[in-house]
């Protein structure tokens, strides 16, 4: 079997947890055009290549016994942002993916509740937020536009997917079936 184009670089990125979206050329185009070839190539190595419905690529995560510290930090960071957008009455996806953000105007330390939540994952100040954002850049969820300015990329949809998964678990508060027909 001939190795697909750029397979080494693509593997190195995906295996580190990175996501490949249109910002990652020429790898994204190669994956888009030959998804089946790459998927078949990585499968015997134990890596499941995922093509997200919003058109980006990543390796399916394993289910480790111990969760690395970075994952809860990323999750809390993202959930706080979503909570803030929801409180403003904004359409969440439009709000997060349709605009640029400044670190200095992030809402994470604007409420005592957020500060308390962030403290639980050892995020205490703006420098800690910057470290999370740098990590998000490494995994392809974010692009820096300047020293303080950034925007979220398409793979941030992984967070929305997780939220939808959580809210679709019956809790009694909201209807459990998001695909229910319109009234």
């Amino acid at each position: 079997m001939n190795a697909p184009q750029h397979v080494r670089e693509i593997f190195e990125k995906l295996a580190r947890g990175s996501h490949l979206s249109p910002e990652d050329e020429p790898f994204f185009s190669a994956l888009s055009a030959n998804f089946a070839d790459y998927s078949e190539y990585f499968s015997p190595l134990g890596f499941e290549l995922i093509r997200h419905e919003r058109e980006f690529f990543y390796f399916a995560p394993e289910n480790p016994d111990k969760v690395p510290d970075t994952l809860p930090r990323i999750a809390v960071f993202a959930y706080v942002l979503i909570d803030h957008a929801a409180n403003q009455g904004e359409l969440i996806e439009e709000f997060l993916l349709g605009r640029n953000f400044l670190i200095s105007t992030l809402p994470h330390f604007s409420l005592e509740r957020y500060t308390t939540l962030l403290r639980q994952v050892d995020v205490h100040d703006t420098a800690d937020l910057k470290r999370i954002l740098d990590h998000l850049e490494r995994i392809g969820w974010l692009k820096w536009l300047g020293p303080d300015e950034f925007r979220f990329l398409r793979p941030f949809h992984r967070v929305f997917d997780k939220c939808l998964e959580l809210s679709s678990r019956p809790s009694g508060d909201e209807p459990a079936d998001i695909s229910a027909p319109l009234p």
Binding site: N63, P64, V76, N87, G89, V121, C163, S167, S168
Partner: protein, 384 residues
């Protein structure tokens, strides 16, 4: 616009807030509002006032505000048409021309009201959609979602059911049209323009109603879907944060984080390290392999002799137990052993599980060994 009850104090506050000039005193404005019956008391002698209904309607028209018609109102119109149809039929059968004429007029009024109310409902939906899109009130996404669900469930959904081609409104309209035609053919009533007007309105309202609510649905649906999705996303995030707040990070586990692939490459030697090791092996100078002596030695090694002596001690002691002074016994029975060996033997017996040791009452004793002397208290040993 304030459409509810208003106290005198509230009215004065509004007058002062919206005064265009200071030429007219608030008292004068208030007096005129009462005199012109723009504000009317809710009941005689009441301190609460309402905006007069005709003025309210005028303002609604001027500000292009609209109230949606409820499905119950439209059902009421339909029921009214059904009753009128029966009355019309009865009037035709008895040749009561006056009653036929009145029924024609009332049918026309009902159809015009339905037409007007449907138009107002459409405007109300459009205004609401615009308000949702701009979100001027800054309400949370979940509240916006609940409000739009209310609109869909309260107005648009049930109304579509009423006005659809196989719904109750179409059935009543068909029956009304049939009765109007019977009236023309069988009665002496000959106001043909009134008949044509009613038939025209029946066609118009039927087409208009379906179009209005399909448009309403089209207006609301994209917003409804995006708000529903946002609401679910917000609910998921809120749930995760709530659990973090109440249960702590230790309970989060894998379920609340977003999993990432992470290939573990720790402690794997680099290519350079492997090359270095191989070089060391390749360039290592040759040396003869160590030679092992396989012949049996004629003499017993000292360590083995010592091991065997220590192992034999419990058996030797068991024959003479109890022993009043263990160290004295050892030094006497094994005079050739060094002090170190005697003390090792002492420890071996002291910790042996089949014996128990106790200090005797005698004072300090001196013990002579092959290579020195020891001073200590005597230790009695007996079976445990």
């Amino acid at each position: 616009m304030h459409t509810g009850e208003l106290s005198e104090g509230e009215a004065f506050r509004l007058i002062r807030e919206h005064a265009y000039s200071h030429e007219e005193l608030p008292d004068t404005t208030w007096r005129r509002l009462i005199e012109l019956q723009i504000l009317v008391p809710t009941e005689p002698g009441s301190g609460l006032y309402l905006l007069a209904e005709p003025v309210g309607r005028l303002l609604t028209y001027l500000f292009d505000e609209a109230s949606p018609t409820t499905p119950e109102i439209v059902r009421g119109y339909i029921a009214s048409l059904e009753t009128l149809g029966q009355q019309l039929l009865s009037a035709v059968e008895t040749d009561n021309v006056t009653f036929v004429g009145l029924a024609f007029a009332e049918i026309n009024n009902s159809l015009r009201r339905i037409h007007a109310d449907l138009g107002e409902t459409q405007r109300a939906v459009q205004n609401e959609v615009a308000a949702f899109k701009t979100n001027r009130e800054q309400i949370s996404v979940r509240d916006r979602y609940r409000r739009i669900v209310y609109w869909m469930e309260r107005f648009v959904g049930p109304m579509v059911e009423i006005v659809r081609p196989d719904g109750p409104m179409a059935a009543v309209f068909e029956e009304t049209e049939r009765l109007l035609r019977i009236a023309r053919e069988q009665s002496l009533f000959n106001d043909h323009p009134a008949l044509e007007r009613n038939l025209r309105y029946l066609r118009l309202v039927r087409q208009h109603a379906l179009r209005v609510f399909q448009e309403c649905r089209r207006e609301l649906q994209p917003l409804y879907e995006s708000l529903r999705r946002s609401s679910f996303i917000a609910a998921g995030a809120a749930l995760a944060l709530e659990r973090l707040l109440h249960e702590g990070i230790s309970k989060w586990g894998n379920t609340l984080v977003i999993g990432l692939s992470s290939l573990r490459v720790q402690s794997v030697p680099s290519d350079a390290a492997i090359t270095l090791i191989l070089n060391r092996v390749i360039t290592h100078p040759p040396e003869p392999a160590p030679i092992m002596t396989l012949d049996e030695s004629p003499e017993r090694p000292a360590a083995l002799d010592r091991r065997l002596w220590l192992d034999s001690l419990p058996t030797d002691l068991a024959n003479v137990i109890p022993v009043e002074d263990l160290l004295f016994w050892l030094s006497q029975h094994y005079p050739g052993r060094t002090t170190a060996e005697i003390l090792t033997g002492f420890s071996r017996l002291f910790f042996d599980e089949q014996f128990v040791a106790t200090f005797s009452e005698a004072g300090e004793q001196d013990y002579l060994m092959a290579d020195g002397a020891l001073r200590g208290h005597s230790l009695r040993l007996e079976f445990a």
